[in-house]
C-alpha cells in the first residue's frame, strides 16, 4: 500500500515541523527517513496514523485520506512509537492480547502466538514485562505493531538505546517481515547504518523540508555510502543541490514545487477524482 503526502505543512505555534512536504512511498518498499533532530520525522508519523491533522496538504495511505479516516486508518497501520512502553506487571502475551482485543481482531490468541514467534519472544511470552531487556521490549513493541498484519508498518527510532545484539535481533525480524509480507515499512532513524541495511529507499529531511529522496542505490551513487550522502545533503553540497529532481523521479508532479507560495494548498476530498 503506497503512501503519499502532498504539500503537507504542520506548525506548532512558531515552530514549523513540516514545511510543504511532498513524499511518495511506493507500496511494498522499505523506506528510510533520515534527518537531523527536529526535522519533522515524528510529526510525519503522528500525521500518518491520524493523531494529528496537517495544517494544509493531504496525506493518503492507499486510497484513504488519513485526516478523514479517523481512527480507522490505524486498523491497517502498525506503529511502533519511539517511546513505546508497557505495564510492567503484564506478560508479553497479555500486552498483545489486549491490543488485539482493542483492535477487535478475530483469533486474537493464535495471532498473538504467531507474532510472538515472529519477534522471537515465544519463550518469554508468559513472563511479566518487568524482567524484559530493552531489546525484548522493542521487539514486543514491534509485535504490537505486527499483530494486525498491517499494510503499513511505521517504526520510529526502533533500535535507539539497544545493545548491538538487540539491534541485530531486531533487524532480523524487520528483514524477515519485509520479505514475507508486502507491507510498506517506514523506518525513521538516526542510525544511518540501520537505514542502509534495512531500506531500499531513503528520504532526507531538515527543518520539515525534504532535501532529497530516492532509491538508496541512486542516492549513494558516487559516494562512499549513505553517511557521506547524508552529510553532503544536509550541509548543502552542490552535488546534491538539485535534489528536487531526484524527488520528481518518484514523487509528485514537479510543477508542485514551483507553485506560487501564496496559493493556499488544497486538500483533496475523499473520492474526488
Amino acid at each position: 500500500m503506497h503512501i503519499e503526502t502532498t504539500d503537507v505543512t504542520r506548525t506548532y505555534g512558531d515552530v514549523t515541523a513540516l514545511d510543504g512536504l511532498s513524499l511518495s512511498i511506493p507500496s511494498g518498499s522499505t523506506f528510510g527517513l533520515l534527518g537531523t533532530n527536529g526535522a519533522g520525522k515524528t510529526t510525519l508519523f503522528r500525521l500518518l496514523i491520524g493523531h494529528e491533522t496537517p495544517d494544509s496538504g493531504t496525506i493518503r495511505i492507499g486510497d484513504t485520506t488519513v485526516s478523514a479516516a479517523g481512527t480507522e486508518i490505524r486498523e491497517r497501520v502498525g506503529y511502533l512509537p519511539e517511546r513505546a512502553g508497557f505495564p510492567a506487571e503484564l506478560t508479553a502475551r497479555e500486552v498483545l492480547a489486549v491490543t488485539g482485543r482493542v483492535r477487535d481482531l478475530s483469533d486474537v490468541d493464535s495471532r498473538v502466538a504467531s507474532v510472538l514467534d515472529t519477534v522471537g519472544l515465544a519463550g518469554d511470552a508468559d513472563r511479566p514485562v518487568e524482567g524484559f531487556s530493552n531489546g525484548m521490549r522493542r521487539r514486543l513493541g514491534l509485535a504490537t505493531a505486527l499483530l494486525p498484519d498491517p499494510d503499513v508498518l511505521l517504526l520510529d527510532e526502533p533500535t535507539a538505546g539497544l545493545d548491538p545484539l538487540g539491534v541485530v535481533a531486531f533487524h532480523r525480524v524487520v528483514e524477515d517481515v519485509s520479505e514475507r509480507t508486502d507491507a510498506t515499512v517506514l523506518v525513521c532513524s538516526h542510525a544511518l547504518a540501520e537505514v542502509e541495511r534495512l531500506c531500499d529507499r531513503v528520504a532526507i529531511l531538515r527543518d520539515g523540508q525534504l532535501l532529497a529522496a530516492g532509491e538508496l542505490a541512486e542516492l549513494t551513487a558516487g559516494t562512499s555510502g549513505l553517511e557521506e550522502t547524508f552529510e553532503a545533503v544536509v550541509t548543502g553540497d552542490e552535488r546534491f543541490g538539485d535534489e528536487q529532481s531526484a524527488v520528481a523521479a518518484d514523487g509528485p508532479d514537479a510543477s508542485e514545487a514551483q507553485r506560487p507560495p501564496d496559493t493556499a494548498p488544497a486538500e483533496r476530498e475523499e473520492g474526488a477524482p
Binding site: Y12, E52, T58, A68, P81, A84, V98, V102, D104, E267
Partner: protein
C-alpha cells in the same frame, strides 16, 4: 504511483477534510452502523478496563484498598464502643461515615493520580494510542477499570465492619449501612474522577501526586474552613450556602449521609437542610455530577494532551 494532483489544487483552497478533532468517529454511520460502533466501543472499553483491573490486582491495589477500609472501619468500631440501641448505632455509623470523609478521598486520589500520566510516562499510552481506538475510549477503559477496583475496595472493605454492625444492632440497620456504603463508593468515584482529570492535565507523575494531595487538602479541609468563614462573615442567602455545599464532593457526601442517617444531630441540621433545599435527591445528583464533570473534562483534556505531546 500517484495520480496527478492538479485537480485538488484548483478547489479554491477550502479545507474540506476533518479539521476538528482527529479522533472523531465516522459520522456517516447508519443506525446499524452506529449500533456496531457502540458494540465495538463497549468491547474496546471493556478489554481496557479488564486490563486495568488485572493491573490493580497485580499491583496489590485491591488488597491495599480492601485492607485499608476494613482496618479503618474496625478501628472506628473498636473506639466507638457499643452503646446500646438505635442511638448507639447512629453514633457508630456516623463515626464510620465521618472517617470515610478523610480516608476514601485520600485512597481514591492515591490510586487515581497516575491513571493517565503513569501510562503516558511509561509509553503504554503511546502504544494504545497507535491502535484504532479513540483516546476517549482509552480514558474510559482505564477509568472504568480503576473505578471497579476502587469501588470493590470500598464495598468489600466496609463489608466486615458493616457485618459486625448488623450482627450487633440487627437487620434494621441494613438500609442505613447500605446508603453509607453506596455514598462512600460514590465519594470514592468522585475523587477518582478528580484524580483522573488532574492526571490528564499534568506532564509528570510527581506533579500529579502533588496536585492530588493539594486536591485532598482543599476538598477535605480548606474548602469547608473557608466556607465556614464566609458563612460566619456574611449573611448568605440559602442559595449561596447550597452552592458552597455543592462545590465540594466531601460536603455533599457528608450532608447526604448525615441527613440519611439522621445523625447530624438534629433539629438544627435538618431544618438548615430543608431551608437550603439540599434534598437527598439533589445531593445524590450532585455527587453523580462530581463523577461526571471531571471525567468529561478529562475526556476533553486527553485529546488536547495528544495534540501537544508532539511538541
Amino acid at each position: 504511483m500517484t495520480e496527478p494532483q492538479s485537480g485538488p489544487q484548483t478547489d479554491g483552497g477550502t479545507t474540506v477534510t476533518a479539521t476538528t478533532v482527529t479522533d472523531s468517529e465516522g459520522e456517516s454511520a447508519t443506525a446499524s452502523g452506529r449500533r456496531t460502533q457502540v458494540a465495538l466501543a463497549t468491547r474496546q472499553v471493556g478489554s481496557l478496563a479488564a486490563t486495568e483491573v488485572r493491573l490493580g490486582l497485580r499491583r496489590r491495589w485491591a488488597v491495599i484498598l480492601v485492607g485499608l477500609f476494613a482496618a479503618f472501619g474496625m478501628l472506628v468500631l473498636t473506639f466507638a464502643g457499643s452503646a446500646p440501641g438505635t442511638a448507639g448505632f447512629e453514633r457508630t455509623a456516623a463515626s464510620l461515615a465521618m472517617l470515610a470523609v478523610y480516608v476514601v478521598p485520600l485512597a481514591a486520589l492515591a490510586y487515581g493520580y497516575d491513571a493517565v500520566v503513569g501510562p503516558a510516562e511509561s509509553g503504554w499510552l503511546e502504544v494504545l494510542s497507535a491502535l484504532p481506538v479513540t483516546r476517549t475510549r482509552i480514558l474510559a477503559g482505564m477509568t472504568l477499570g480503576r473505578g471497579v477496583v476502587l469501588v470493590g475496595g470500598v464495598a468489600l472493605g466496609f463489608l466486615i465492619p458493616g457485618a459486625i454492625l448488623v450482627s450487633e444492632y440487627g437487620p434494621s440497620t441494613v438500609p442505613a449501612l447500605a446508603t453509607l456504603l453506596l455514598a462512600a463508593a460514590a465519594l470514592g468515584l468522585a475523587f477518582l474522577a478528580v484524580a483522573v482529570a488532574l492526571s490528564t492535565l499534568v506532564r509528570e507523575k510527581t506533579h500529579a501526586l502533588g496536585a492530588a494531595l493539594l486536591a485532598w487538602v482543599w476538598f477535605v479541609l480548606v474548602h469547608d474552613l473557608l466556607a465556614l468563614g464566609v458563612v460566619a462573615a456574611f449573611d448568605l442567602s440559602a442559595g449561596a450556602v447550597t452552592a458552597l455545599v455543592l462545590a465540594n464532593p466531601t460536603s455533599v457526601y457528608r450532608v447526604l449521609v448525615l441527613g440519611e442517617l439522621g445523625a447530624g444531630g438534629t433539629g438544627g441540621f435538618a431544618s438548615v437542610l430543608s431551608a437550603s433545599g439540599l434534598s437527598s435527591g439533589l445531593l445524590a445528583v450532585a455527587l453523580a455530577a462530581w463523577v461526571a464533570v471531571p471525567l468529561a473534562a478529562a475526556a476533553l483534556l486527553v485529546r488536547w494532551r495528544g495534540t501537544i505531546a508532539a511538541t
